[in-house]
């Protein structure tokens, strides 16, 4: 286990920041890009996880476990979100026979 810990010293934190930001941007792109609501949800998960990774990296570099606890909570929120989101997707499929995000346009005046 000692070898692994040296990894933190070998890799600068900037790399993790860059990686997370890249993943976040890709996720965001997907959210804007895709019309399939399930894929949009998946891209949201990706964004969540990029944040998780960043927090974990900070926590590791800070030597402070509370960052990891936060990741834990984010996971919980993500799980709850997915449960509700997917049930909404099922509902939508059942009602409008499609999962196209552009069909969800009832939410207006």
């Amino acid at each position: 286990m000692k070898e692994v810990s040296s990894a933190i010293q070998l890799i600068p934190l900037d790399n993790y920041i860059m990686l997370s930001v890249a993943l976040f941007s890709i996720g965001l792109m997907g959210v804007l890009f895709r019309r399939n609501i399930i894929v949009v949800l998946m891209c949201l998960e990706l964004m969540f996880n990029s944040v998780n990774l960043l927090i974990t990296a900070f926590s590791a570099y800070h030597s402070d476990p509370s960052g990891q606890v936060f990741v834990f909570f984010i996971m919980i929120v993500a799980a709850a979100e997915v449960a509700v989101g997917l049930s909404i997707v099922v509902m939508m499929k059942r009602n409008v026979e499609s999962v196209d995000i552009n069909l969800l346009n009832r939410l207006r005046w």
Partner: protein, 633 residues
Amino acid sequence: MVEQVPYINFAWLVPALPLLGFLITGLAYKRLKHNQAGIIASTMVVLSFLVSAALFFVLQSSGKDSATVTLFNWIVIGNMNIPFALLIDHLSLTMMLIITGVGALIHIYSIGYMHGDDRVNSFFAQMNLFTFSMLLLVMGANYLVLFIGWEGVGLCSYLLIGFWFKNPAFNYAARKAFVMNRIGDLGFILGIILLFLTFKSVTFSEVFSHAAKLQPGAPVITLITLFLLIGAVGKSAQIPLFTWLPDAMAGPTPVSALIHAATMVTAGIYMIARSSILYNLAPITLNVIIVIGLATALLAAIIGLKQNDIKKVLAYSTVSQLGYMFIALGLGAYSTAVFHVTTHAFFKALLFLGAGSVIHAMGGEQDIRKMGGLRKKMPYTYFTFLAGTLAISGIPPFSGFFSKDLILAKAYEHNILIYILALGGALITCFYMFRLLYLVFSGEQRLPGVHPHESPRVMTIPLVILSILAVFGGFLNIPSLLGGDSKFTTFLQCAVISKVPEEISRYTEIALIVISLILLIRVIIFVYWRYVKKALIPAGETETKPFFSRLVYNKFYIDEIYIALFEKHFGYLSDFFFHKIENTVLDPVVDEIGAATSRFGTMVRRLQPGNMSFYLFAMVAGILLFIVFILII
């Protein structure tokens, strides 16, 4: 910090048990079968009584005068800290024992009395809530906790007077009681606020220790005590706020017994006795109290002479007795007042319960002109009622004698005029009580078609116990004249600071007793001659009566005067506010605000096309702008 008395922390059980009973019977009122609610409620009160008794012995054996039990910090704002605390001292213990003891008996009695009523579960829930509130009232260690109890009993009183809410008259009575009490409460709140402003605390001990440093007769103290007095007047049904109490007889009889005779109405007495230190500093207020008490005692007694409703008679007698207590308070003989509260609780509860038993037997009939000849049919009720009557009339050695005689003695010492008037009131009391007794129990039955019968055991046993208390309750405080040692007075001395020395000269006292005894016996003989020998029946509604008699029969038209004086004018005022101010000024303004918001909303909603992609883009753009903004700054 006072060193704690062992086991005293269990004091919270005393109010908590009735509260538990209230929660059980109140929340599960749909599931409980006919008698279960009553049994649960009664058990809770009996347990509460046992705990109170245990507390009594604990406090006695510890040798301490008082103990404070802080349950939790209630209001903490800045450096103001009002704990939710219970004060256990001799005064509150006395009251606790009365409330739980008499309350338990009345609860048990109610099982029989309320049997078959379809809202019996609600009844017991409210009774328990009342017991809880009353205990909170007497156990509170500061004016705020006391005030909670004060308001709680007011609420329960309202609920229970209007218990049979299908009758609009009863509802009216309940409302009247509530409004009257509110007037008193307003004064009480003002008094508490003033107290807080003056002493920066509402806790009894701190207030009293601060007050002791003030000059006697200081205006602040007078003002405070007057405000508090207004509260006490409202709660204890004194002139001018007494008219609600006779109307409160609309509630079930056990309610009348518990709330409007034994406990709640004595809250004012208790409060003043509790604040005795403050009142000792305000001689003006004391004089006001004497005047009010005297006037009330006499007025109510006179009205009681001509009443024909069995419960109304008792109600006016209650008002009158409360007047006596006020006299005692005004004389500065607080412990005497509390002693009278105690004995009054016994015999008045007894009388009310007896009356309830009679009403129960008569199938709901309350007019004494239609009763009569119940002695044979209801022996238990008769004898217990007789005991109560003797007690209230002040015949030795019944309990009323000891307490009333003490008050009279004090009055004599203070001012002979007061004494004469008070004695007159006592004689009138004796008159109408025996009138009631004879009309109800002697002679022949005057209402055809009813077959009275003795009440069930569950009702007579409380009656018997109460009658024992009413007979022997006076021995708690045998004056030294009769070889006693005034135990009760001594007991209360540490909690209640009396103004006057409690002893007067022995010969005067004997003389006073003899005088009052002779007069009382003459009155009784007169009543016997008038209502048993001549078998006079009071005139009915329609018959013409002499002026004074009519005046008394109609309660001096006080209700009507109140209506003419206050109600009408308030009605005009509210009409004016409603039509002129609200309809023409306030309403349009409010409407315009709503309409403007709505118009604005119509404009704004165009921003919402309903397209998710658009929203997402907008959101991302917003975040981007935000970050860029932060970066630039």
